[in-house]
Symmetry: C2
DNA sequence: AAGTGGTCTAGACCACTAG
DNA sequence: TAGTGGTCTAGACCACTTT
């Protein structure tokens, strides 16, 4: 009849213990954790148990593991903020692609300052596949959003780059007849929405946009260079003609660590220095 | 000089192989995977290797593991959609809490239908802690957003429930003097924003809101009953008086599987049945 | 009781990074 | 080359669920 709560597994206790050291400042951002053998000795457990604890902290984004080097406490993340003015901006002018300020690789690791100015290629969008919609669940949802039969649709898959680093993965669905020739073959494309608008002469407006969060599936994880299950910010929605005819459904998965979408509800004002805002949305 | 790409580790190859079976329909949603010993025999590897592969698929949300029972292919997720009308809704009327339609526990698992009607308690918000802001990074950010010194602020931590299930975790920061007595002690609170507005007589408007994605840290994972690192949708922002004075900073982490925020940019129209919309936002 | 997944040990070998 | 983390094996015991 003992209602005693089962003790947590050892690896979880260790994870919490190490997290407490981090929170308490005993292990400041950028500092190195003891090596796995050292932790084994300290806690008197098998290496695999230590590894489970460390993996837990890595999933929690508390630490960063660098193979062959060591394990380090992560500094607080800095995100790219993208502002959307919900009161006025209704025109879908293209992609977020060109937005980002200093495109240098993100600062990480030690507390040491590492300015890295002037990475030349600002970014862009690389088409990696174009194919007719199949009967997969995601294609079916796109067809539903566009109110068109699956058979008429094509899907364009792209990777959005900042500098040379993948920042997000996009899937676009549109009528197959609308797919511009420039996009019909994998390669650089700069900005899919703009190419589409220019090639077809269609003016695109936002119909709706939605935000959600998912873990990276195996395919997206590959493309983005992150572990499977990493949090991705999903931004999806339909763009339409000024008449309201749905033309394009887009679903973009963005490395969660590297983006924040901001909606300002009040007219431009002195806002706290809080929002290091930027850029346009697409 | 061999530039041959290193072969992927066995567990990853197995994960991809199993994922392909799922994608191909050989393992339909709801079906059970072979047990771990069976998979060991089939692929001729150690059980731990199989477990690594299976863990990978679980992180990718492709499968669901039920201890003592088996491992099952997950059906596509269904999310609660919350609409925000960016053109008009500017008043911060309270929490998303009361929003959700049928509060039954989410359907999961087998393809079999499992209606579960009539969970009585519709949900609410449970205060779990109230404390003065410390010098932690997250408290400091709140102070920055509110433009007030840390010492004047208090933090209120709550869990947002749907039925009996935790749906999100909220942190609110406000002037310590403003914290209503009703919130000053842990317990049921129904709706923090409403309580705050009623207790102080302050009318709250949105200043800004932002969306991002993070993995659950150990604490949030505990509160939400999800694994560490699970994708959470973060909705944060400042609410202010009609004069624009920042009053409240809120940062809510929502189980990523269970929420989607929708912004409609066009006036109400016949929209595709796509958006099974709902509710208000807070 | 039987079968499932969860935790843990001991030991091995490998790949990557740095000095 | 030495030290780090990454992968894999073999075997054990446990907790949970179902029958």
């Amino acid at each position: 009849m003992s209602n005693r709560r089962r003790a947590a597994p050892v690896y979880l206790q260790l994870a919490r213990q190490i997290q407490e050291r981090i929170d308490a400042g005993e292990l400041p951002a950028g500092s190195r954790l003891p090596s796995e053998p050292e932790l084994c000795a300290e806690f008197g457990v098998n290496r695999l148990t230590i590894r489970q604890a460390v993996a837990e902290l890595e999933r929690a984004a508390s630490i960063e593991i660098r193979r062959g080097v060591g394990t380090f406490v992560r500094p607080p993340v800095t995100r790219v903020s993208i502002t959307v003015d919900p009161l006025s901006q209704r025109l879908d002018v293209g992609s977020v692609t060109m937005a980002l300020p200093h495109t240098g690789a993100p600062t990480r690791g030690e507390g040491g300052g590492d300015d890295r100015g002037g990475v030349p290629g600002e970014g862009g969008e690389r088409v990696i596949a174009v194919a007719p919609a199949s009967d997969s669940a995601v294609d079916a949802e796109a067809a539903r959003h566009l109110g068109r039969p699956l058979a008429e649709l094509s899907r364009v898959e792209t990777v959005v780059l900042i500098g040379a680093e993948p920042w997000g993965v996009s899937s676009y669905w549109m009528e197959s007849a609308l797919v511009p020739r420039e996009l019909s073959v994998p390669g650089e494309a700069d900005n899919v929405v703009r190419v589409l608008a220019e090639a077809t002469g269609i003016v695109l407006e936002y119909d709706w946009r939605a935000f959600s969060a998912v873990g990276a599936d195996i395919g997206d994880a590959d493309l983005l260079g992150v572990p499977t299950g990493s949090p991705l910010l999903v931004r999806e929605g339909v763009s339409c003609t000024p008449d309201g005819e749905a033309v394009l459904y887009v679903r973009r998965r963005i490395n969660g660590e590297r983006a924040r979408f901001v909606l300002n509800f009040r007219p431009e004002k002195e806002r706290s220095d809080a929002m290091p805002s930027t850029a346009e949305d697409g």
